[in-house]
Symmetry: C2
């Protein structure tokens, strides 16, 4: 949208102009405010008048309600440019409530996880579940379900399935086009999607870790406009230079800000923004959401004005949200009051001029869902009981190396059995959507588990069940327990399930309130670490990505180990 004033009737518009002219009182005036002017990168002073959900003027104003800011600073509400709400492990209304407290007033979400389980119904579920929440939740329609031909998901989304969502006013484009190989080879199903997006003026978000040179050129020519997978400055500058907007990701497992901190200055910052991609609710509650990225960026040397601007205005520029990300007449009055600019200590958050008190959030963060979709989302475990025999080794299999704080894996040779002294664990992925009984296996090093097994029904992107263990018996028991729960995460010490976190919604999301979800999630994490898991990685988030065959080098799917650069299954 170009103008916030488009939401006003003619008489409201005239009233709005009277407020600006000081002829009538504003609904709300923030007196003695310091505020960020994102257009000249200055912190300025003035009374800020708000009317009809928009900024109406800055200067000297009187309001029906006035709040003395005592010099505290107002910055535009934060935008997460790319997030899978499902990866927080909580439902949208729970996520929104927490993220709003951290200043995030708008997100671009990709319901890719639930779409891999439920197909277009998953997208519909998320659209319904986010309608009317006091956060602007915009959608990018999942473009790669399944992520690629090696991934065995619950449903397939074709171009024609995506198109049904293009007229929705909350849909801005198609989400991370991760099938880089499908683009490079111009596979029909992929090209149908990009061509359709282009014809419909839908933005195409990218996902292309480490691609470069001619392959990158092809990817951009296909219509991709952004990327959130850069892990080095060289990679980011090459991608920027061919026209991609860069989303700097700082999630639970994938954390790229430190490596990319130099993007937070000109000439790079005007096409760079922030996203979390996949971030557990615990991390949002403890460290924050986009506020955490701003804080960290400033600590790493970014100019505060630039960091706040990237987190709001610049993301708005990319998505064509011309009416947000600035404190200026005609912009949406989404803003954050910070006690201290550098530490991003948040005092209050306002959405469209309304203060988001705890009571307000409690009353307004409620999903309205149809019974049909609700019911469907609660029945997504369709798989047989697993026996240890099914997991016995079949000769040598590749070993995936985990890297602290990264999503990519390394090649660590072959193994034929579990070897705890060398930290070689067995991992397996179990198809859970169509009762095929498919199980793919491989080995992982760098995980550190010393006892029992860990399993989760969150396993990118198909969200089959992944288990990692110190024995086949432990793995089988862990997987069967997940199946019984209807989805979730758990830690099995070889005798008992010592911690579990149920995720009954599509096997991805909890229905608990945020505090309970956080507690359960912390319990499974603590239990995992207590059994030896390496503290440099997240026991669940990192594990869940070892199943995703679109990130180099090696991945494990229901069909076995995928060599991503070679684009082949290991035989």
């Amino acid at each position: 949208m170009v103008y916030q004033q488009k939401n006003m009737t003619r008489s409201e518009y005239e009233e709005f102009l009277k407020v600006t002219a000081g002829e009538i009182k504003a609904e709300l005036v923030l007196k003695n405010a310091t505020y960020l002017d994102v257009f000249t990168n200055q912190f300025k002073q003035g009374d800020i008048a708000i009317s009809h959900g928009s900024f109406a003027g800055i200067g000297k104003y009187k309001g029906e309600k006035e709040i003395d800011m005592n010099g505290k600073t107002i910055v535009p509400g934060f935008i997460d440019a790319h997030i899978h709400i499902e990866s927080t492990t909580v439902t949208p209304e729970i996520f929104a409530k927490e993220a709003l407290k951290h200043g995030t007033t708008a997100i671009l979400t990709d319901p890719h996880e639930i779409a891999n389980v439920m197909g277009v119904d998953g997208v519909k579920y998320m659209l319904e579940a986010t309608e009317g929440l006091p956060m602007d939740i915009f959608f990018m329609i999942p473009s790669c379900v399944p992520s690629c031909e090696f991934d065995e998901s619950g449903a397939e989304i074709l171009a024609r399935d995506m198109e049904q969502f293009f007229d929705d006013k909350r849909v801005y484009g198609i989400a991370e086009l991760m099938d880089v190989n499908g683009v490079a080879t111009r596979r029909t199903d992929v090209i149908e999607k990009t061509f359709s997006a282009i014809q419909n003026d839908m933005l195409i978000d990218g996902h292309a870790p480490m691609i470069s040179g001619p392959q990158l050129m092809s990817y951009v020519a296909a219509g991709v406009l952004s990327d959130h997978e850069c892990s080095t400055m060289d990679e980011a500058i090459e991608k920027l230079g061919v026209g991609l907007w860069i989303m700097i990701r700082e999630g639970t497992a994938g954390q790229n800000l430190e490596a990319l901190i130099d993007l937070c200055k000109e000439p790079y910052c005007s096409r760079s923004m922030f996203c979390t991609d996949d971030r557990h609710i615990t991390d949002i509650m403890k460290e924050g959401h986009i506020d955490n990225i701003i804080r960290k960026a400033i600590r790493l040397g970014a100019e505060p004005a630039e960091a706040y601007k990237m987190a709001s205005y610049t993301a708005g520029c990319y998505f064509g949200l011309r009416d947000r990300g600035a404190i200026s007449p005609g912009f949406l009055a989404d803003f954050v009051v910070v006690n201290d600019v550098n530490s991003v200590e948040i005092e209050k958050v306002f959405k469209a001029g309304v203060e988001l008190t705890d009571e307000y959030l409690e009353a307004n963060c409620k999903a309205k869902l149809s019974d049909e979709l609700k019911d469907k989302a609660h029945h997504t475990m369709n798989m047989p009981v697993v026996s240890p025999e099914m997991l016995k080794s079949k000769g040598k299999l590749p070993v995936l190396g985990l890297v602290d704080g990264q999503l990519y894996t390394t090649r660590e040779g072959l193994a034929s059995k579990i070897d705890l002294s060398a930290d070689i664990l067995k991992a397996a992925v179990f198809e859970r959507h169509k009762n095929t009984g498919h199980i793919g296996m491989g080995y992982i090093t760098g995980y550190g588990l010393k006892q029992g097994a860990i399993a989760t029904s969150v396993a990118h992107d198909a969200h089959n069940i992944i288990a990692i263990g110190t024995s086949e018996e432990a793995m089988a028991n862990a997987v069967n327990a997940i199946r019984e729960m209807g989805g979730g995460m758990l830690v099995y010490d070889g005798q008992n399930v010592i911690a579990s976190y149920a995720l009954p919604v599509a096997g991805l999301m909890s229905e608990e309130d945020a505090m309970t979800a956080k507690q359960k999630l912390e319990e499974v994490h603590e239990a995992a670490y207590s059994l030896g898991v390496n503290k440099g990685i997240d026991p669940f988030m990192t594990l869940s990505f070892t199943a995703l065959p679109v990130i180099p080098e090696l991945r494990i799917t229901t069909h076995g180990v995928v060599d991503v650069p070679a684009w082949t299954l290991y035989h």
Copy 2:
């Protein structure tokens, strides 16, 4: 448009991707090129492949046709963000031919001049006359016809008249909203236009010289997004800071680049661009168009990469033209080959991958116009013969002071008669659209004419006839000669018309070829200067603006002298 690829069929799109991948030859490859990467502000090297009118890739490519660039530099085609084609004094096809040679591949034009003469038919005339030209000519619909209540134009354009054009794919918004007072007082006709533009997602360009503080705030709140009337950095920074995009104007009379050169760096340059507004064809042919502004900016200290970027990519950002202004796959292949980056010495210009040779321009710069509009445009002189008696003084009248290189005037007291020794000349504006016989008078100093009179049917914005003279007799003779010509500019030495330039199209545009038009325009200028006109001003362009009652301080209209800040007619 987001994607150039939207112009392609599915099979063309696949072919395009094959070109990028190097699997088939490109239509055109620029070998060994240096090119500007506007995303990282770097000049880089590579072969540039072009296919289907778009950049397809940069790297190593083979083409059906290959041009060795020998290291010469490719920059994106230039965009003029705000221009009245009529002010060049030539028709659109003649203008396009000349401006294309100077690297301007797209313009946003405001047919405000012809609309003041012919109303909506004037807008239709310009839409027809520009259809199919090898320059992208986008439109902003005139928002202030007449400019304000003091201006007596040939027609009035209301909100509903403007709306008929909003669905045209070449229309991007409404043009310079110059009735600042009408906005501030929320006059119904003005508010109807801004509200309609907002509802239709039309951009609203501004025109607000010297406004500041609360008045500026009201102007922005109404929905105005840009301004091209800044004459100082303080003014520009204040306007940027409330969210206006700044167009730095460098026309024939209004020249602001030198004062605003510091806008050509961050954080200002990412919301600043260039425009000419009103520029005679002679100046375009002699000094250049947007290329002249880039050249001058670099000479004044701008980083070349920034100057070229403002002239292309940044203007594209403002207008939402996401597919132009960069040399990158999926961007429109409009580009300029320069021999020397700093001096902007242009060797070749390409539009959508096609080289604009003289032959090509000759064959393709042809307007297709309906007979009805053509005929109407050729009959716009509807006024009585003027006698010297009609111009006799009626007591004291204000004296307008002209300022070299500026459009604003100063207050220089009152006068009751012409006084050549004090450089006080009489000026009068004659209504020419509706045969009302209205004549408004005043005095001007700073013009310098020593003999005879000068008259023109180009007189902003109503384009009545303005004459300035050393006697009432000379003025009457000059005006009558213009009437006889059917519109134009002329210089009368007291005995004879010593130079004249006919403008038969709406009294605004010549039908001559560019060389003849240039020659005639030079002749009237030389003749004017030979009679003493001050070399610091343009005898016609500056004079034509003294009739425009929306620029401070004083103006002369058919009703008499207008005091612009006081917003009253002098009595």
